[in-house]
Symmetry: C2
Subunit: 304 residues, 2 copies
Amino acid sequence: MANEKKRKVAVVGCGSVGTFAARAIMASSDLELVGIVRRPESLSRGVPPELRDIPVVSSIESLDGVEAACLAVPTRQVPEHAERILSLGINTVDSYDIHGELVNVKKRLDTIAREAGSVAVISAGWDPGTDSLIRVILEIMAPSGITHTNFGPGMSMGHTCAVKAIPGVKDAISMTYPKGQGLHRRVVYVELDEDADFDSVKEAVLKDPYFSNDETAVILSDDIDSLRNSGHGVLIERSGVSGGASNQRFKFEMSINNPALTGQIMVGAMRASLKQPPGAYTLPELPLIDFLCGDRDRLLKRLV
Amino acid sequence: MANEKKRKVAVVGCGSVGTFAARAIMASSDLELVGIVRRPESLSRGVPPELRDIPVVSSIESLDGVEAACLAVPTRQVPEHAERILSLGINTVDSYDIHGELVNVKKRLDTIAREAGSVAVISAGWDPGTDSLIRVILEIMAPSGITHTNFGPGMSMGHTCAVKAIPGVKDAISMTYPKGQGLHRRVVYVELDEDADFDSVKEAVLKDPYFSNDETAVILSDDIDSLRNSGHGVLIERSGVSGGASNQRFKFEMSINNPALTGQIMVGAMRASLKQPPGAYTLPELPLIDFLCGDRDRLLKRLV
């Protein structure tokens, strides 16, 4: 790897996912972080000390030779950022997490990417993302049966962003607790703007498509900061049938720092994006070996 | 799928893996089992009742229009079968399980497959195979850290075949027990031919590359049949670092009927083989969605 040219990449957004993605890039021997793209109004804000030597700009066009961008922005802003950056001929990777919409988003980005000769890897977080890979593997192993994906306990970033976008909400966190069998309870803590009405905020939360299918409690808090913790987890279970044999039992479990994992997976996806023909892809449509850094035969010898 | 033409496939070998693979094919709406290939001396043996309508032949050339073959044969016979069948322009799938050799076998098969316009998917069982996919995903999620693969308790088919191939062994099973941290104890039960010497059989087992790296006990038995059970399992654990954050913890666990799982995964790999350009591939080199039956967008909508 030392003799190969590092591939130039950028991170769009400098929240927790963006910061961890930047760190993951700096720890990769095959990638070079050429810049961080922030909104103009955030340019004056500080960045974590280890990123101090990285140029911070307000537009990706100000950076030279970027081949791939990690879109560490709120999920609902992903399609607009991706469309613009893909059309510049730069690959994008996102962690778009609205399960019901992602196939449609993929179709739109696919058209743009093919025209511009770029690659989009969409929904490249852990769910959707690596959890999706696990669910696919479990169906390869046992095509008939039931899979349960149980999230938490932990703060959901997508859900939290959705609550924060509600008018009157000053700050919020949305916690997810597994009830078993793939059912969840959401507990939303909100800190309000001075003149905001709790009942209307609560109603807006309960109506949001992120929450409308789950049991949800909304709790008023005067100090969201003291509740913060990036720990999260998942338990994916399947019992199914392989070749006519029942009672094949599978379990995948993890306990993780959520934005750190998301940022790391997105960096692997940027690497994979550089090896694909133009178009848009979800994780199960890509060879997994393309996400890893290093010589392919040596990786296969060690991991297969 | 109903309106699409089923793809014609065959199974080579009619042991436990071959039988489960045949059952898995018959349960697939997109594949048609056109025949089972057995050694000439086994042609007169019966097949399980549900396979009675399937032609049993001694050579794959006797079957019309086969596009892919599942090589359910002892691992050391895989390369020779694969080379011959690939050169006929027929895809092959195997569960070759000698980890140290598989990259070399892949290279040889790749040359033959590219020349003949066929596809080989090698080491498409559960380890190597789906476990390899899990190990790759864990490194995508946390590039730095240690993975332990703990097998068992269960009978290892590869190890059992290796023991059975030793002169003087009438029948055998090789059990694997996890000691933790990826270390294993092997317990080999052997039933001997009448004139065989236990000590020389034991020495041959201990010297075999399948056993030489593990603590191994060899036990004489006069009734191997009463010990048989196809249950097996694995626990893969990793603790690692994502984006600089340590203590990311992952666990994959399964408890399964071993030949049933192997046969089922090989059938998914046959399906995937029909979607690739000529060459030889291990599982991490293939898009996982290609292993599943059904409309791609509907699968992605449900599983991503």
